[in-house]
Symmetry: C2
Subunit: 82 residues, 2 copies
C-alpha cells in the first residue's frame, strides 16, 4: 500500500517561501502569478500486513499528527493506493 | 486558473530526508514503513489572461524547468484546474 501525504500551511498562516517564489517568477518574466503557496509531499510505502483500509488510514493520520505535520499551523491530506 | 506542481527527487537519487523520516516513524512505533520519499508541492494561482490551456501548460512547464525543479536530480508533474 502506498500513501501520498501532502502537508501545507493553513490559509491563515503567512508563507514567506511562497512569496519569495512568487517574486522570483515575476523577476523571470512570468506575468500573472497571483499567489504561490509552498508545501510538502511525502510518498510512504507501507508493508502489506493484512490491515484493513480503515486501520491503514488511521495509521497514516497518526503519522501526520505525530510527525509529518505541525497541526497548529499546517493542514494535511492523504490518498491511499494499492 | 490554479496549478498544483509536485517536485520530487528522481528514483535514482538518494533521499536522506526521506530516510530520516522513515527512521523517525519506526522510532515512534509505526511498523511496516518500507520507504519514504520527501518532495515539494506548490500551489500557484494564475490570473485569467485569456490564454489557452495549452499556453498555460507551457508556462507552468517553463516555471518548473527554470525555477521550481532542478531537472538534473528532480522530476516534476502538475495539474491544472479552473
Amino acid at each position: 500500500m502506498k500513501a501520498t501525504v501532502t502537508v501545507e500551511l493553513k490559509a491563515s498562516v503567512l508563507d514567506p517561501q511562497g512569496k519569495a517564489i512568487q517574486h522570483s517568477l515575476s523577476s523571470l518574466g512570468f506575468g500573472g502569478v497571483e499567489d504561490v503557496r509552498a508545501g510538502k509531499l511525502f510518498r510512504i510505502v507501507l508493508a502489506d500486513s493484512g490491515q484493513t483500509r480503515e486501520e491503514i488510514e488511521t495509521q497514516v493520520r497518526q503519522m501526520c499528527e505525530r510527525l509529518l505535520a505541525n497541526t497548529v499551523i499546517e493542514k494535511f491530506s492523504y490518498t491511499l493506493e494499492e
